[in-house]
């Protein structure tokens, strides 16, 4: 018997030496996968900062079983109103994650409602194919809405500085300070363009773009339209304003009417020349292009919010032989206008145009404030580049804006 035991032991040793042992080791390595996973550690639940109160943030340290190449499925978030449960599944977070915002909607009547100021208890479970292991219960924790988003402090500071600058220059302008404003070729050309239309006996086409009355570009365009309308009334030229948005149309009618009144020619105002065309983008393009090709306006103004239609309008205007003055704050459309129009107001120049046309000291003061604010931004950018280059990140971090 003893001889058989020795032979068996020798065979086993031999087999181990030739590789059977590797298989045995593989089985041994798989053994942890066969047991439940380790739970996540240091689970924390707290009110999500700077939100409307309908969210709780959870953080944890990864489970020891959450390793690369393992069959770890993720972390299940469990929530209850009481520490003893029952706990409701709030979703599975993928392996490797260590944070989750448990949030919902604020409307009580809707699915996924997440109450504010309500005690919640949480557990985070590590999940594998074998099973789940839950962390200890944490809580109570409440979602509370905040009244100030500290993450937006850099924006608030910038707004306060800029508002201060603007008010300062407005006061200076009111006191009679002479403010130099650089010439804008596009605005200087307005009078020339209206004069040309008068000489040719052809109308002027004014396109306010696709923006709504709430868009700043459209508001700036109304101001320019008012000045253009006054000059048009002075020169006894006709003005066509096809509108994309009905509210814009109503405001444009009032603006043009006021321009005619200011020129002392209210009887020359024709409401039918400012009309609604359509609120479909390409139908609007078709309509405006039709006006250009049929009426052959001497001058086309494209001032406001423009998208893909910008080049289609401007190219048709070129074909119609019109002088074209354009301006938009849509960065992607500016190159199209630059290529196809005679004069283009680039970005902020559109907003500056009203002050430039009116030459009112108060409006010029706001332009001056913009110039100083830009100088400040350039200075900050240079300091930031230098600071970051020398590894001093504090300065750059002060400009970080949170959600």
């Amino acid at each position: 018997m003893k001889r058989y035991v020795i032979v068996f032991s020798a065979i086993m040793l031999l087999l181990t030496a030739v590789g059977w042992g590797q298989d045995t080791a593989g089985v041994a390595a798989a053994a942890p996968g066969g047991s439940p996973p380790e739970p996540p550690k240091n689970v924390r639940a707290f009110d999500t900062p700077y939100d409307n109160g309908h969210s709780i943030t959870l953080t944890w340290e990864s489970s020891a079983s959450d390793t690369a190449g393992s069959l770890f499925l993720g972390y299940r978030i469990l929530r209850s109103d009481t520490p003893d449960g029952p706990f409701v599944d709030r979703g599975l977070v993928p392996a490797g994650a260590t944070t989750k915002d448990d949030k919902g909607v604020k409307e009580k009547e809707e699915d996924g409602y997440f109450p504010r100021n309500h005690d919640f208890y949480y557990k985070v479970a590590a999940v594998t194919a074998v099973g789940e292991t839950e962390s200890p219960v944490v809580g109570p924790v409440q979602g509370v809405g905040q009244w100030y988003n500290r993450g937006k402090t850099p924006v608030a500071v910038a707004v306060v500085i800029f508002t201060g600058l603007t008010l300062y220059f407005i006061v200076r302008a009111k006191r009679g300070a002479v403010l130099y404003i650089r010439p804008l070729a596009g605005i200087d050309a307005v009078d020339e363009a209206i004069g040309r239309a008068t000489e040719m006996g052809k109308p002027i086409l004014y396109v306010l773009g696709l923006g709504t009355a709430a868009d700043i570009a459209t508001i700036a365009s109304f101001t320019i339209l008012g000045r253009v309308a006054k000059k048009v009334a002075d020169y006894k030229t006709s003005l066509i304003v096809p509108c994309y948005d009905p509210i814009v149309m109503i405001i444009a009618q009032e603006t043009v009417k006021t321009g005619y009144y200011n020129a002392g020619k209210p009887e020359a105002y024709n409401q039918d020349s400012i009309y609604f065309l359509t609120n479909q983008q390409f139908a609007y393009v078709g309509g405006v292009n039709g006006i250009m090709l049929r009426d052959r306006p001497a001058t086309n103004f494209y001032l406001g919010k423009f998208y893909a239609e910008s080049l289609m309008l401007a190219e048709t205007g070129t074909v119609a032989g019109s002088i074209q003055i354009a301006g938009t704050d849509e960065v992607t459309q500016i190159p199209f206008f630059v290529v196809a129009c005679d004069y283009t107001l680039i970005g902020e120049e559109l907003y500056a145009a009203s002050a430039y046309l009116g030459r009112e000291p108060v409006l010029l003061g706001t332009l001056k404030a913009q110039d100083y604010a830009k100088a400040l931004i350039i200075a900050c950018a240079i300091i930031g580049v230098l600071a970051a280059s020398f590894g001093w990140t504090w300065f750059v971090q002060q400009f970080h804006v949170g959600n």
């Binding site: 988003n149 924006v155 009905p246 009417k257 609604f276 479909q280 893909a308 500016i334 409006l363 830009k374």
Partner: protein
């Protein structure tokens, strides 16, 4: 009072919207959403005014036999047809309404949009004539980018790929950011002018 009340409304609304940006609380969100919903409702009523304006202008054109007046008939006929299909024949899901929308409106829109390719070609032809030093730079930049993104040439890995990326990421992005910063400041300045009542043209008065 005729001007003071609208100015006060603008001041209060503008100030609220500016402050609301910094307040994440649900109460602030509620008021913001309430105001936005009302703006949509007002927009719907304004659409009726817009349609009335279109009808009035078109009818006047037909009545006066103005130049190109038959186009006004097409406008009114199209408007009436779509309204009748929607209101009298089963709403927006009616066969005629959907057919006109899918087989007339959408193809017409697509046709207009596709014309953009030809407009870009004609504009590029004019812009790329190397008459000045700046126009030459524009032409060279455009050639580099066109080489880089031309689908028929396939993915190129030569020096033009790096150059194209540099043109996009450095001079192009720098110019874009400069414009965007200017636009941002201009927006704040214009908003301030409106909120403070300095800019009033939108109210129909200088």
């Amino acid at each position: 009072m005729k001007k003071e009340i609208p100015l006060l409304i603008v001041f209060v609304s503008g100030l609220f919207m500016a402050v609301q940006f910094f307040v994440p609380h649900a109460s602030s969100e509620f008021i913001y959403e309430f105001v936005m919903e009302w703006s949509i409702i007002i927009g719907i009523f304004a659409l009726a005014l817009g349609i009335w304006s279109l009808v009035r202008v078109s009818v006047n054109k037909i009545r006066r036999r103005s130049e190109n007046w038959p186009y006004a008939i097409v406008i009114l006929a199209g408007l009436a047809a779509m309204m009748v299909f929607a209101l009298a024949w089963g709403g927006l899901e009616s066969y005629m309404f959907r057919s006109f929308f899918n087989y007339v409106m959408i193809p017409l829109h697509a046709t207009m949009f596709s014309l953009l390719a030809f407009f870009i070609a004609s504009a590029a032809f004019r812009a790329f004539r190397a008459r000045t030093a700046l126009a030459t730079v524009l032409l060279i930049s455009a050639l580099v980018l066109m080489l880089r993104f031309n689908p028929y040439l396939g993915p190129l890995g030569g020096p033009e790929a790096g150059l194209a990326q540099w043109v996009l990421n450095v001079p192009n992005l720098a110019a874009k950011r400069a414009i965007i910063i200017g636009i941002g400041l201009g927006m704040v300045a214009t908003s301030l002018k409106v909120i403070l009542g300095i800019e009033r043209t939108y109210m129909g008065s200088d």
